[in-house]
Symmetry: C2
Subunit: 273 residues, 2 copies
């Protein structure tokens, strides 16, 4: 998907919500366990219910891998379902991959050739030649970790060098030599609040993937105040608060209700901006 | 596997070689493509041929994921084969995983409960709470990226803070608050040469996983000179130079030949130490 197409979707639908498909077979409603592929059945129902209220979906590979072959099957089926029925939704594989060059190229083959995803989260620790192989695909996106939502972000990401530049700032700055705002996004946790200002000083035009509203406690209003740009420039993710809103046969409608609430708040924030 | 058991294996077999099972279906001998599971057949033959000359195996997930469900099946079959037939070999899943706490816990479930691997490579960028979930398992190991073998290691890992501590040194130092030398190892690329001295100043007793001899050009002799400790303390990985030594029906014997050469050199280096 091109940047302009994503911006268009946000404008038309008045939402920048990304629904995280962090589907844990131990948490889905019990009645689904009778299905041939319970995880895929859950995802399909969640997608059908929430699609009007979001512009993106983000399955996290950890949850699918924990079920081995069955999990990979459910993941592939989910991506196929999205690609076939919701071609205008932006699909991110949250895998936080990254390795030496030839190995990153294999990961890129998996997610961008075998499966036609729009985007993949990538870890920056190993530097340029570990990231560049993912940038070789037209209309595909790298979503690079920058300032993450968790407490451990304080361990290394905020360390300043002798010139005062913090690690996350160095990641934002250096990576602009590798890609641009039409093929790179950055992960900045909603919990980071005012830090979005520092991020925007370095990357005013890039899209930011923002996890951490909902269960992790970040504030959507603060994220927008400090992080929104003229094109919106945000994809804000929520998973557990939406997909596990209800544990009965009413799970999909409940998810739709939660997604709709978030979308309505986003619509107001877009109007105010 | 406990640390003492690994040290014992190295002493008895006079080798600290780890064979990397970076199995690319596009590179294995053509005659194997007629097999029901060509990648597993390749791995099985390589394992049987090289087992006397190494103490560890390291499949890299990128190669298996690129084949989707078939790849995950081949990966599971390979690990199962190793666990059943070579219980004294140390098996590392090279996956470079890491995410927020509850998600890392899912990854840990996959590799340490569903599949009974000995060790998993983990990326440090997201800090403590992204790594600690992997440290909750008895006799299992986290292999944390520290100073990697690739050119991009220069982008962030060598950046010094205001006190002169470089990022890879901070990773080595801080992570000792999370685990110890009985459940953590570190990745230090063979290409890093004399940098092993700086590493050993901070982690004298930890095992180091050392990729990058063979195709990447690192020197085994330098690695040993600067990186070996009283228990050896090294697992040196080679993949392509061994597993692709030959592209015909003689591939397994050729792999054995290459592994034997490396093991003999390692035996000499152990004797000299």
């Amino acid at each position: 998907m091109k940047k302009q197409e994503l911006i268009q979707q946000i404008r038309e639908k008045r939402t920048f919500l990304c629904v995280g498909l962090d589907t844990d077979i131990k948490k889905i409603p019990a009645h689904l366990l009778a299905e041939r592929d319970p995880v895929f059945s859950f995802n399909k129902a969640i997608i059908d219910a929430t699609a009007p209220y979001c512009v993106a979906y983000k399955p996290n590979l950890a949850f699918y891998e924990s079920m081995g072959v069955k999990g990979w099957t459910a993941f592939e089926a989910t991506v196929e379902y999205l690609r076939t029925n919701y071609p205008n939704h932006f699909v991110i594989a949250d895998a936080k991959r990254g390795d030496i060059g030839n190995t990153s190229a294999m990961y890129a083959r998996t997610f961008f050739e075998e499966m036609n995803l729009d985007a993949l989260t990538v870890a920056p620790y190993m530097g340029e030649d570990s990231v560049v192989p993912f940038l070789q695909y037209r209309d595909k996106w790298v979503v690079l970790l920058a300032l993450t939502s968790n407490k451990g972000s304080h361990d290394f990401q905020l360390t300043a060098d002798t010139e005062g530049e913090r690690l996350f700032e160095k990641v934002l700055r250096k990576s602009q030599e590798w890609g641009n705002d039409e093929n790179m996004m950055y992960v900045v946790g909603a919990t980071q609040g005012r830090m979005f200002e520092a991020v925007r000083r370095i990357v005013p035009n890039h899209f930011l993937l923002v996890p951490g509203i909902g269960a992790q406690g970040g504030s959507l209003e603060e994220v927008c105040k400090w992080g929104m740009n003229g094109d919106c420039g945000l994809l804000v993710n929520s998973s557990r608060a939406i997909i596990y809103a209800d544990g009965t046969e009413a799970f999909a409608e409940a998810a739709a209700g939660e997604a709709k609430k978030v979308a309505e708040e986003m619509g107001r924030l877009l109007d105010n901006a």
